[in-house]
Structures are given as C-alpha cells and as structure tokens.
C-alpha cells in the first residue's frame, strides 16, 4: 500500500480505556462464574454435611460472591464510560443511523468482510463496529437488569427489590429472567470472540494501531478517516484533527 505521511489521531479518553479493561476483566469473570452457577460441580471431597464444604474455593457461595462482586465492579466502572462520554468527543463514536455515511459504511464493510473488496476507506470506527458496540452495551444492560432483579429479591422489601423487582413481572416471571440472563451471557461470549478477532485482524490488515488504541487512545491513519467529522469540526483543514496530532515521515 502506498504510504502517505502517517498521522496520529487521539480518539479515546483514559476513562474509556480504563473502563474497557475493567469491563473486559469483569465480563470474563462474570461469564466463567455465571456458567458455574448455572451448572455447578464440586471438586474434592466434601463429606456428607455442608459444614465441611462451605467457603471452600469451589463452593457455590464463594463463586456466587465473586460473580456479584464482579457485577458491582462492572456497573461501577460504567461511571468512567459516562464521564468519558461527557468530556471527550472520541468517546462518542456511536452509530449515526440517520447519516448517509453510516449506511455507506455498512455496505462498504460488509463487502470488505465478505472479501468482495480488498479495501475500505479508513474510519475512526467503522459503521459495523459502532453498531456492534451499541449492541453490546444493550446486552450488558440486560444482564445487569436481569441479574440485579434476581439478586435483590433476597430481601423483597429492600430498596434494591423496589427498584429491580418489577423487572421480574415485566419478563413474565423470574424463571424467564433467569433464562434471559443465561442466554444473553452466551451472546456476549460470542461477541467477545468475534470482537477480539476483528480487532487483531484490523491491526494486521490496516496497520492503523487498532489493538494498541485501547491502551494509548490513539490510532494512526495515512489518509483522513471518513468519519473524522466526529472528532473535529473543521474536517477540511488537514492540520487540525482531534485534540492532538503528530506527523510522521512517510515510510518506504
């Protein structure tokens, strides 16, 4: 590929990046402990009475405790995401269904992923990725709501039950809530597989610093990204993208 001068574009605030890794870690923990909760087993000898087994590493109680702790961390971490959204334009790369650019991007990316076209325009974040991330937040929201609906009903008169208890009625019973929670967990797992793959693939195919962007906050583009308008008002001026940019000498 012909290399123009590669420029650095600052996109993600530290808040978003920290949240991303908090999310990645806690979702991993939640999925693993959740599957255990759904189908528990016991390793080692436990005797006949619960006294001998309770609070061992693989006891249901411990695993559930970890699940709930990770859930609280995930939800608390989301505050960082909201803060990032408020202070940094690069944290607002949502799907803009109402723009032509979004729909062009969908077609373009579908063609690209189906090997019908070798290239696509550079994007800060392409339309499919934008939609997928919005979808993931919806799934996580569902998990949190259904999870807390089950969790808080231990104390049916408590504050948490007042807040989340009605969710059980909304879904037509707590049994359905437990099923939704379980099914959505698998959807998240499948998202993560495809997500991690596409991140690595983008890194390899486009060399725009995709994977490292979630650590450093920056990506590198040789050409102006098609959706640059999302982080810079004046997209015509070559020199004024984002809040920070640097030029690198052209390679090769």
């Amino acid at each position: 590929m012909s290399e123009g001068p590669v420029k650095e574009y600052y996109i993600y605030s530290p808040w978003l990046r920290i949240f991303h890794w908090v999310m990645a870690a806690s979702v991993g923990v939640l999925f693993a402990t959740g599957l255990y909760i759904g189908n528990p087993f016991f390793i080692g000898t436990q005797g006949v009475e619960p006294t001998f087994a309770v609070n061992k590493l693989m006891s249901m109680e411990t695993i559930r405790y970890i699940h709930f702790a990770a859930a609280y961390i995930l939800v608390a971490g989301f505050i960082l995401r909201v803060y990032g959204f408020a202070v940094n334009r690069g944290d607002r790369l949502l799907p803009k269904f109402w723009t032509a650019l979004y729909w062009q991007g969908v077609v373009e990316m579908l063609k690209h992923y189906l090997f019908l076209s070798a290239d696509h325009r550079p994007y800060l974040r392409n339309s499919l990725a934008r939609s997928a991330y919005l979808g993931v937040y919806v799934l996580l929201f569902l998990e949190a709501v259904t999870g807390f609906a089950m969790y808080f009903m231990v104390d049916p008169n408590g504050f948490g039950a007042k807040l989340f208890g009605p969710v059980n009625g909304l879904f037509g019973g707590e049994y359905t809530v437990h099923l939704v929670h379980h099914y959505v967990a698998w959807l998240l797992a499948i998202f993560v597989i495809v997500h991690v793959y596409l991140v690595i693939r983008a890194d390899f195919m486009e060399r725009e610093g995709e994977a490292s962007s979630m650590f450093s906050g920056v990506k590198f583009f040789a050409h102006k990204p098609a959706d640059i308008g999302d982080i810079a008002d004046d997209s015509d001026k070559q020199t004024d993208y984002g809040t920070r940019h640097r030029q690198y000498p052209a390679q090769g």
Binding site: G38, P40, Q46, G173, L179, W186, I190, I193, R201, F204
Partner: protein, 366 residues
Amino acid sequence: MENRDSMWALFQKRGVSRRSFLKTCAVVTGMLGLSPAMLPKVVAAAEKKTLPPVIWLHGHECTGCDEAFIRSQSPLASDVVLNMISLEYSDTLSASAGEAFEHHLKDLMKKYAGQYILAVEGGVPLADNGIHCMTGGRTFLAALKEAAAGAAAIIEYGSCAAWGGIQAARPNPTKSVSVSDVISGKPIVKVPGCPPIPEVMTAVVMHFALFGQLPPLDAQGRPKQFYGNRIHDTCYRRPFFDSGMFVEKFDDAGAKAGWCLYKVGCRGPVAYNSCGNMRWWNGLSYPIQSGAPCFACGSNNFWDNGPFFERLPDIPVPGTIADADKVGMVAAGAALVGVVAHGALSAMQKSKQAKQQDTDVRGPEA
C-alpha cells in the same frame, strides 16, 4: 344463615371459655403474619365483627385446591368452615346439590349484596363462548360475573384462578384465563399455588373477616406476608446449595443424604411461596423436604416452564436435544472456527494484494 355472629359470640354459644378464645386469637394473629403487637386489635375485631359470608365458586380446574383446603391443620378445616368463616356456598363441599342449592346461591347474593367474600377456584375458559366449563347449565364466565358483581372482595384461590392454570398451558385450547382477566373494579387478591397452602387461604379469608380489607399485596397482587420470600431463601437445604453439594440423580447418595435439588431442576430460586417457612400439614413436610424439586407452582406460566427436572429447557434445534449451554458451546465453537477461517482468507487476500502492488511498482517478475 341467621348464624352470622362474631367469633366471640360463636365461642360463647358453644360454651368455649374466654381463655380459649384469647388463645385462638393469638394463633390467628400468628397465622395472619401479623406482629404480636396486633393481638389486641385482633381480639377486638373477633369480638365485634360479624363473620362475613363466603361464596365459593369452582371453575375450570381439578378441585385439588379443595383437597388441600380440607386438610388444613391449624386451624382445622372443619373449624374454619364451621366457626371462623360462614361458608354459605361451596358446590363441592356441600351435602346438597341441584336446583334448590342453586336457588340458595341466588338468595345469598341478593341478601348479602356488597358484603360477601367471593372465593374462586379455577380458571375461566373463554373459547367458544365459554362452553368448556358449564355449571348449573350456564357458562362459568356468566356465573362468575354475576357472583362478582355483588362481592365485597374476590379471592383467586389457586394458580388456575390466579393465572389460568394447567389448562392454560400452550397452546391453551380453551383460552383459559385468570379471574382478574375478566373481572375488574373489585378488590382482588391472588392466592396462587397448585394447590396453595391451605393455612394461607384461611389466613387471607380471616384477614378480610377481621379487618374488612385485604392484606398488603405485592406487585403481582399476592399477599406479601405469604408470597414475599423465595422458596430458595427460606429452604432448609440451602446450606447444601451454598456449599455446592447437589443431588445429581434422584437415586444417588446425595439424594439420600438430602442435598440441594438445584441440579435436578429445583425452581426454588425463582419461586415465591411459604412452603419453606410454613411447610404443609402443620409443618409436617413440603415437596423439597420429601426430595422433590420445587416447580414454582405459585408462579404464572409454571406449567410451560418445563422440563421440571432440568434447570435449563431444551432449545428447539431440530433433531437434537440441547440446552443453552450446549447450543452456546457449539455456537461459540463455530464462531471460533469461523474467525480462524476468515483470518486465513484475510491473510491470503492481503498477501495477494501485496504481490499485486509489488508487480505494479516493479513490473512482472522476469
């Protein structure tokens, strides 16, 4: 019918002592789920309030709730019927039947219009103009509407009356629905269960009899003090759950030792009822205690949430038996294989492209 007395008056008529009366009031207070501080109020009400007449209708159901009710232990069903409420009409418990009995019902509804408690057992079939359940030559829907019009309060007794019941299972051929689906504008309380715990029913009736109003209800319209807690959170097998000790099969050592029934499909974690704290038959036992997983008989749609002995239902993938974990594993596996294949193709495409560019710049290799 003229015996509409207060409880205290009834006790006096039968020569029962004041002491026994007070003891009974103490029991009733506990039964109603009230705090001991409420005892004076209960005594006062039991002295003054005349017992409300109760009309008990039966619709689309199996009368299992009756079977449970007549085995009520504390108080004894006979005491309830004879001394605690004035059960004026019940087409399954009465000795009489036929024209005269139906006539009696008409009289009752006229005489006590606006005063009686209407207990309904059974769902209401709506398909084909309601002909799937006929009582006294009329559709149950018509009978119910007539009786409901003059009721002071309505009790939906059992899961059929409260949610539609077993006959409402998919595809619900008779279009069976709950009482509150067809009746509105009256105080209605759900006492679901298949069957409900008889003492719970008695308590709800007594509560209305003594205080003239329904007990506090939860969001789904069930009395809070009996349907507030999860079976799972009141279960005596809970320590086994917390320790990860589960019955795997109904004939294994864990089952014999009384471990938790979670893995054989126990719905305790999503069921709300009093089985765990009140148990059945005077605290004798309840399903989990006898080794049978709870199937949340008091919850809406429990009949469609099968199989009862599995935690997760099968996902209808043609030609297989697989739950969400199996389907999820296969889907995740397919996703993995898919991304690896896609990755390989991508790499091939890229190297082809790179060669192409090489060729463009340098010309075809000699």
